[in-house]
């Protein structure tokens, strides 16, 4: 039997005892919160997804850790409070009486409103800074981003400089392909990237909405047809990663993956130049449409005429070309 089970005599003694118990509750809550925050920050944070392979991933990891540290005391506070009241104020068997008719408490209500508002304000300021400073934090920023990553816009990319590497990501049912405009617009089915280099992704789609998600890079940008969606990151570690599709795009959505590697800038340059040379030699570059920010699969400029007047544009992609059309790329 705890002391709480004895009906409290009215008066100062009972009030003091209750006061003491509330202080105990607050102390337990503070201790638990401190412990949880320390565990989150020092034990959990280094292992939190999406890791720290790139600048944007690092910022996301940092944000998740900060939010967890902010949320833990709130959750623990509610849980501690409920654990306390459910035990202390439970009705004993045979107790038919009512609770105390308390209709509110202006001080507590005001404190609560101010407290939650402060937390919200903090989260807003923190989130906005964390969105703007790392140039969109890896999220898709639309066609003309206002928060840009620093670096030099160049026609040819040189390793070891601050040149931005442009990579175009093209989603279609159900595969990813990547074009590198600084390497003659060559196209690759793997996403190889140099380390320590500012990278700009231009994400677009040929058919339905996809979403480009190289999980370890901390980048996520929707791929809409006829839309150029820009996202930034800078890789800080070498290694391999997987690209997934994050927006339902048809039956093979779950299998729409591709592989990528972050390598040294020099190795990347060697790889990209080799692919460009190979594609030039075997005619792939000539067959590809010229590099553009979006592509319309019903238009094949190489043929010198548009093929948009095909019946059934809204059908499956295979139907974009009329059955009588002799040329399909």
């Amino acid at each position: 039997m705890s002391s709480a089970e004895i009906p409290l005599p009215a008066g100062r003694h009972a009030a003091e005892r209750e006061q003491r118990r509330i202080w105990w509750l607050v102390a337990v809550w503070l201790l638990l919160s401190l412990a949880a925050c320390l565990v989150i920050w020092f034990v959990w944070y280094p292992h939190l997804p999406p890791g720290d392979m790139t600048t944007s991933a690092r910022h996301q990891q940092f944000d998740i850790a900060v939010l967890a540290v902010t949320a833990a005391p709130v959750i623990l506070g509610v849980f501690c409070y409920f654990a306390y009241v459910l035990v202390v104020f439970r009705a004993r068997p045979g107790d038919d009486s009512d609770g105390a008719p308390i209709y509110g408490n202006a001080k507590i209500q005001a404190a609560w409103i101010i407290g939650t508002s402060m937390i919200v304000l903090w989260l807003f300021v923190f989130g906005t800074v964390e969105l703007i400073v790392p140039a969109g934090a890896g999220a898709g920023e639309g066609a003309s981003p206002i928060w840009k990553q620093s670096g030099a816009q160049t026609v040819a990319w040189t390793p070891g400089t601050n040149d931005i590497l442009q990579v175009q990501v093209i989603g279609q049912q159900w595969t990813w392909s990547y074009r590198y405009p600084q390497f003659g617009g060559m196209e690759s089915t793997v996403l190889d990237l140099p380390v320590n280099t500012p990278i700009t992704f231009h994400v677009t789609s040929l058919d339905v909405i996809h979403s480009f998600w190289p999980y370890l890079l901390g980048v996520k940008a929707d791929a809409n047809p006829q839309v150029d969606n820009v996202a930034y990151t800078t890789a800080r570690q070498t290694g391999s990663f997987i690209v997934r599709c994050n927006e339902l795009c048809g039956i093979w959505h779950g299998a729409m993956t591709s592989n990528g590697t972050v390598m040294t800038p020099v190795a990347f340059k060697v790889w990209a130049t080799a692919v460009q040379a190979r594609e030039k030699a075997n005619g792939t570059l000539a067959a590809l449409p010229p590099y553009a920010l979006t592509y319309d699969p019903t238009v094949i400029p190489q043929l010198g005429k548009d093929l948009v007047n095909v019946v059934g544009v809204t059908g499956a992609p295979g139907y974009f070309y009329g059955p009588g059309n002799p040329v399909t790329p």
């Binding site: 509110g104 989260l123 779950g254 059908g315």
Partner: protein
């Protein structure tokens, strides 16, 4: 905020003679679900023929030899035939021909002890509530079976039990069916049944709209399921374009059924707004309105303002598929962003359409079983109104990575986080109500407590999603999935079951078996958390939503979730067993006021009489004045005639409007 009350009104107690409609004829000679079914089948074939006649030249799907125009017109005519067969238009035709109605419309079909009235176009709100109850349980169980199929497929990343195409179909059916169900699961059964009882009214404002709202849900259910016959739809419950335009004929069912359910929601919303404003009993001030009615009131506004956008989007999607318009095809001048904007402009208020009635129910329950007044009635009302208002200003947080208005993301991050302030009010009220309470751990109370537990986790995870950098990892992953299952299933479904255990004795005079009820609660609570808590981890580890396969290293977690989900399904079977046995066989009587609640509906006989109140009651006090010495009873159920007289004869008896502080 000062709200001016409407003039207090009451229905005159004396009425014209009532004809005893029906009763002599056997059930099959009345119009009802069986004639509706005949009308629906006939309508479908008529519409299908007409569609092929009109649009046979541009049948688009060469795979199925089906024509979208024929299917959509088939659905439309089937719904019209169904309603005509039910007798929805009978009175309308009589009025158009200048004939008098055979019986007073608001009594249509409410008399008679048999089951037949539940299968007819009955205008009594209590009958409609019970129709909704069974209808929504059917929806819920069907959607639950689809969930079981999803978890079966996800048992293994490389061994496929149902395969990607069927998996996608099942995902879409599960999501859409659950979303359609959730928007009515509380407002339907409890809102329609108890709304008028709680405000002291004999009826709702628009009984025809109310009944029509219910009778649109069975065709929506069947049309949505009919999609399976055409191979399902590949878009999930969001129906994103242009995938939806690309999809085969199963997609028509999605747009049509969701739009139909949208119309049902709009009708229910209008009815409830007008009822709550105009049909409150004398003395039922805004400051005495039960919290469940406040929840219903705010949600009705959301339904009326947000759902038309969904209906419009569904309609545009259908014309894209049938008349070859191009609202959502980027290559032809449309915009896939437009659909995303329209859908989420409905979609975000929708999630609060799901949450707010749940807040209302649990507030009723905790006050009753804490035996205490609410801690801050006005704070809770402000919370409900604040959540409802803010819910219109947050929809782009679903589109943070899409490239739509990227420079507006800080604003939508702010509005999203602001919602946690009014939601915090609701927690403050709950926490304050428990202080110095005398807590009874009845089954409804357990469900209410579980609601607060689950919704806290769901709400806090929502804050993670509102932060753009954190959202970039979590968006579209199983993290989101876990988040909204915590708020919708952990919130609303727990509130629904709380309400069911709380109000079933009032609705039927029967209480569910308590032992089985407790087993149901504890298994459901336990397995709900073991199912959905690991999904946060799965999302963080990079598993996107709606995939039929996943990374090898996630198999153990997925297996755990699947097995736990099967146990959750089994706990629903416990409930079903308890429900069927208690209602049909054990029939443990529970009359009177078993919870000793102060609320108005518990002061009536059980089940409530046909007209709810013999006389219009006069409300004397608020519903939550527990523990107050010499508290007035909540209402005078048999007021002297003069009181009522003064209430509805304002011209000679002075002012009837007054300022109520609120």
């Amino acid at each position: 905020m000062a709200i001016e009350t409407q003039p207090e009104r009451a229905e005159p107690t004396g009425r014209g003679p009532e004809t005893a409609g029906g009763g002599e004829r056997p059930w099959w000679q009345h119009m009802g679900a069986h004639t509706g079914l005949i009308g629906a089948v006939a309508g479908y074939f008529l519409g299908h023929w007409l569609g092929n006649f009109l649009g046979g030249d541009f049948a688009r799907s060469s795979l199925s030899d089906e024509n979208d125009v024929a299917i959509v017109l088939g659905y439309s005519f089937a719904v019209i035939g169904w309603l005509a067969g039910l007798g929805v238009f009978n009175d309308l035709f009589l009025l158009m021909r200048g004939k008098p109605l055979p019986e007073e419309p608001r009594f249509l079909g409410q008399e008679g002890p048999g089951l037949a009235k539940y299968f007819r176009f009955t205008l009594d709100h209590k009958v409609v509530g019970i129709q909704y109850l069974y209808g929504m349980i059917a929806y819920f169980l069907t959607g639950g079976l689809f969930a079981m199929a999803i978890r079966t497929e996800l048992l293994s990343p490389n061994y496929h039990i149902i395969g990607p195409e069927q998996y996608l179909m099942v995902v879409g059916e599960h999501g859409t069916m659950m979303m359609m169900m959730m928007s009515s699961v509380v407002l339907g059964p409890f809102g329609q049944y108890f709304g008028p009882l709680l405000i002291g009214s004999k009826r709702v404002a628009f009984p025809r709209l109310e009944a029509l709202g219910f009778w649109l849900t069975p065709p929506a259910y069947i049309i949505l399921l009919s999609s399976i016959l055409f191979g399902g739809f590949p878009t999930g419950w969001t129906g994103y374009e242009p995938l939806a335009t690309q999809a085969t004929t199963g997609m028509d069912a999605y747009f049509f059924a969701f739009g139909l359910m949208g119309i049902s929601m709009i009708l229910a919303g209008f009815n409830m707004i007008v009822t709550i404003i105009n049909f409150r009993a004398p003395g039922m001030r805004w400051s005495r309105l039960p919290m469940f009615v406040w929840g219903q009131f705010t949600v009705s506004w959301l339904q009326v303002l947000a759902v038309p956008v969904l209906v419009g989007a569904c309609y545009m999607g259908l014309t894209d598929r049938t008349f070859q318009t191009a609202f959502f095809t980027n290559q032809l001048g449309g915009s896939s962003f437009l659909y995303q904007n329209l859908f989420w402009f409905f979609g975000h208020p929708e999630v609060y359409i799901l949450a707010l009635p749940g807040f209302g129910i649990v507030t009723e329950i905790i006050s009753t079983f804490c035996r205490k007044p609410l801690f801050g009635y006005k704070v809770q009302v402000a919370g409900l109104l604040g959540v409802a208002t803010l819910s219109f200003f947050v929809w782009q947080h679903h589109l943070f990575d899409s490239g739509i208005n990227p420079d507006m993301r800080p604003l939508f991050m702010l509005t999203t986080e602001l919602i946690s302030i009014p939601t915090g009010f609701i927690y403050l009220v709950a926490m304050g109500t428990f202080w110095k309470a005398r807590i009874r751990f009845t089954i409804p109370m357990l469900f209410a407590l579980a609601f607060y537990f689950n919704f806290l986790i769901g709400g806090i995870s929502g804050v993670f999603l509102s932060d753009v950098p954190a959202d970039t990892t979590e968006h579209g992953s199983f993290f989101v999935m876990a988040h909204f299952h915590y708020t919708i299933m952990g919130g609303l479904i727990f509130a629904f079951f709380g309400g069911l255990y709380y109000w079933l004795p009032k609705m039927f005079g029967i209480k569910l078996n308590e032992t089985l009820g407790k087993i149901h609660f504890w298994t459901m609570f336990l397995f709900f958390n073991t199912t959905f808590l690991p999904l946060f981890a799965l999302g963080m580890l990079g598993m996107p939503r709606r995939v039929f396969t996943y990374a090898r290293n996630l198999e153990t977690l997925n297996d755990w979730v699947s097995i736990s989900a099967f146990c959750l399904g089994a706990s629903m079977l416990i409930f079903l067993f308890n429900f069927v046995m208690s209602m049909a066989f054990w029939r443990q009587r529970e009359v009177g006021n078993p919870w000793r609640s102060r609320s108005l509906e518990w002061q009536l006989s059980t089940p409530p009489p046909a007209e709810n109140f013999r006389r219009v009651p006069v409300i004397l006090a608020g519903p939550y004045d527990y523990g107050v010495k010499d508290a007035l009873p909540v209402a005078d159920l048999d007021p002297p005639p003069g009181v009522i007289g003064s209430a509805y004869a304002p011209a000679t008896r002075g002012p009837v409007t007054r300022e109520v502080e609120d």
